[in-house]
Amino acid sequence: MKWDEFFVTGEPLIYGAMVSIVLASLAILFGLTYYKKWGYLWREWLTTVDHKRIGVMYILCALIMLFRGGVDAIMMRAQTAAPDMKFLDGQHYNEVFTTHGVIMILFMAMPFIFGLMNVVIPLQIGARDVAFPKLNAISFWLFFAGAMLFNISFVIGGSPDAGWTAYFPLASIEFSPTVGNNYYSLALQISGIGTLLTGLNFIVTIMKMRAPGMTLMRMPMFTWAVLITCVIIIFAFPVLTIALLLMLFDRVFGSQFFTMANGGMDMLWANLFWVWGHPEVYIVILPAFGIFSEIISTFSRKNLYGYSSMVLSMVIISGLSFLVWAHHFYTMGQGAMVNGFFSITTMAIAVPTGIKIFNWLFTLRKGRISFTTPMLYSLAFIPIFTIGGVTGVMLAMASADYQYHNTMFLVAHFHYVLIPGAVFAVIAGFHYWFPKVFGFRLNEKLGKLAFWFIAISFNVTFFPLFFLGLKGMTRRTYTYSAETGFGPLNMLSMVGAIGLAIGFIILVYNIYWSTRYEPRDKTGDPWDARALEWSTPSPVPVYNFAVTPKVKGRDAYWFSKKNNEPLSDEKITKIHMPSNTGKPFILGIAFFFLGFFLVFSWWIPSIIAGIAVLIIMATMSFDRNNGYYIPVEEIVQTEQKLRGDTV
C-alpha cells in the first residue's frame, strides 16, 4: 500500500464528496459543542440499552443509507439514460452498482427492519425490553461500525467493484487488486456478527418474554414474522461468516479456496454466497409480510384472515428458503438433474406466498377500509409484488432462465420484489409506528403525496427494464451504443428515478414538517389499532407497560377496548430496568478500527485493536451491574403526565 493511494484521487465527484463529508462532520461537531449536547448524546443515545432508542438509531442510519444508496442509483440511471454517456467511467460505474447493492440490502433494508423490530416487538408481546438489552446495544454498534467501514471505502482506499455478489475470480486479489473487496469482506463480517446476535436476542425475547396469556398462536403476525426471520438469520448468517472469512484469506493470506489454480474452485464462492443469499431475501421480506398483515388488518377494521395459514406459510417459506439457492446460477455448468431439482423447489415457494396474498385479499373483503398512508403502501404492495412474484416464477424455470440470466429482466424482477416487499413495507411501518415512538403522526397529506410519487415513479423506473432485458440488455453494462435501441426505455427509466427521488424528498420533508406542526397525540392509539403496543401512552415511557398486560386472545388490545375490560387489574409495583452502559459503543469503535487496519493489512495495529476487543469483552464479563428499580411514585407520575389520567 503506497501512501499516495490511500485517498482516492482524480475524480471531481469524489473530491466533492470528501469536502461535504468534512463539512458535515465539522457542522455536527460544532453544533454539538455549541448547544452543549455532548452529555445528552452520550447519556441518552450512545450508552442507551432501551430497545426503543436503539430502534430509532437503526432507522436513522437506515434513512441515511437510503440516501447514500439512492444517490448511487440515480448516478447509475443517469449514466445509462442515453447511449454513450460520459458521466461515469467504467470503473466508477462498477463501484457504484456494487455499493448500491450492498448498502440497500445490508445497510438500508436490514437495519430499517431491525429498527422497527426493536421498537415494536417488546411492545407487541407486553415485555419491558428485549431479553438481553446490553447485547442488543452491541448488535447495533457492530452494525454501525460495519456500515461506517463500508462507507468510508469510497474516499479511503477505493470502493469494492466486483458487484454485491463479489463473484470470484473477479473479486480475487489478481483481478481486484485494490483494498475495495477487503472492505466488503470485513464490513459485512462485522455487521453480520451484529445481525446474528440480534437474531438470537429476538428469538429468546419472543419465546420467553411474552405477557401472561399470550400463547404462540395469539401473537400478532408481525411478531410471528420476526420470530421466523430470526430463525432464518441464525442459520443463514454463519454461512456468510465463513464465506467472507475464506474471501479474506484468499485475498490477504494467499489461500487457494476460490482461485483458478492449485485446485481452487471459483464457483464455490457463488455456491456459498447464495446458500446465505437466498435465505437473506426472506430475512428482508418476511418481516415486511408481518408489517403488511398488521396494517391491512388495522385499517380494514377486521381480524387477519387465515391466521394459522399465515403462520404455516411462513414456516414453509423458511424451510424452502434453504433449498433453492442454485437457481441463482443455473448457467454455471451443473447438470439438468440439479437445475430441475432447484427449479421445482423455487416454484414451490410461490404456493405459500400465494396463500399469503389471498389471505390479505380476504382480510380486505367486506372490511371498512380507511385509506391512510400506511394502508396505501400496503394496498399498492399487493399487485406490484405479484408482478415481481410472477416474473420470479418465469426466472425459476431453468431452461427459460438461460435467456433471462444476467439481463435487465432479472434486475427488474428483484426490484419488483424488494421495493414493494421491503421498501414499501418499512415506509408503511415507519408511518404506522411513528406516533408510537414520537407522540405525533406524520402528516397524511404529505404522506399520500409522497406515496403517489413513489408508487407511480417506481413502475416508470422499473417496468421498462423488463423489456430492456428481453431485448437483450445485460445488467452491469455501463454504456451502450445508439444502434442497440436501448436508449428511449432507459431515458424513461431515468425519468422514473427522478420521480422516486422527489417522492423520498417529500417523505423526509414530511418528517420535518410534522415535527413542527402536526398536533400531538394524547391517546396513544391514533389509528384505533389492535395489538398491545397501542395500549401504552405515546411516546412510550422507558418501562413500556406500567403493569404487565394479561392476554386473553388474539388482538388483545382491540377486544379490551371493545369490551371495555382493562388489560390488567393489578397494582403498579416497582419496575426493574437494566442500566445504561458505554461499553457496547466502545466495542463498536474497537471493531471499526480492527476492520480498518485489517483492510490495509496493517498487522501490528490490527493485533492491538484485536486485543482491545478482547479486553472490552472481558470487562463486560466482569461487570456485575444488576440494573436499577423505578419506584412506584415515578411510574404513576409518568403515566399521568403522558395520558392525563390516573391509572
Binding site: M207, K208, V231, F235, A236, V239, M265, M267, L268, N271, V275, G319, F322, L323, W325, A326, G333, Q334, G335, A336, M337, V338, F341
Partner: protein, 95 residues
C-alpha cells in the same frame, strides 16, 4: 467422596466415548469403502449423542422442545448445505 464427584452417568459416558473413538479406528483396516463410511457415520453420531444427552443435559431445561427444534433445524440446514453442495458440484455436475 470419590463416588460423589464421579457419578456413574459421567463415567459411563466418558468410557463409551473412548470406546467409540477406538471402534472408529477399524476403518484403517482393509474393508469395503461403503462399510468404512457407515462405521464413521454411526460412531460419530453416537459420540455426539453421548455428549448431548449425558454431558450437556439437553433434556433438563424447561425449553427442551425449543432446543430440540433448534438443533434439528441446524442439522437440517447443515446437511442441506453439505449434501446440496455435493449434489451441485459432484453428483449432479454436467459431464
Amino acid at each position: 467422596m470419590i463416588k460423589q464427584l464421579f457419578p456413574i452417568k459421567h463415567v459411563a459416558g466418558y468410557i463409551s466415548s473412548l470406546v467409540l473413538s477406538a471402534v472408529a479406528l477399524v476403518v484403517l483396516l482393509d474393508m469395503p469403502a461403503a462399510s468404512k463410511m457407515a462405521i464413521l457415520f454411526v460412531t460419530a453420531i453416537l459420540q455426539a449423542s453421548v455428549q448431548l444427552m449425558l454431558f450437556m443435559h439437553v433434556g433438563e431445561s424447561d425449553n427442551k422442545k425449543s432446543i430440540y427444534i433448534n438443533i434439528a433445524y441446524a442439522l437440517f440446514v447443515g446437511l442441506v448445505t453439505i449434501f446440496g453442495t455435493l449434489f451441485i458440484f459432484v453428483w449432479g455436475w454436467y459431464s
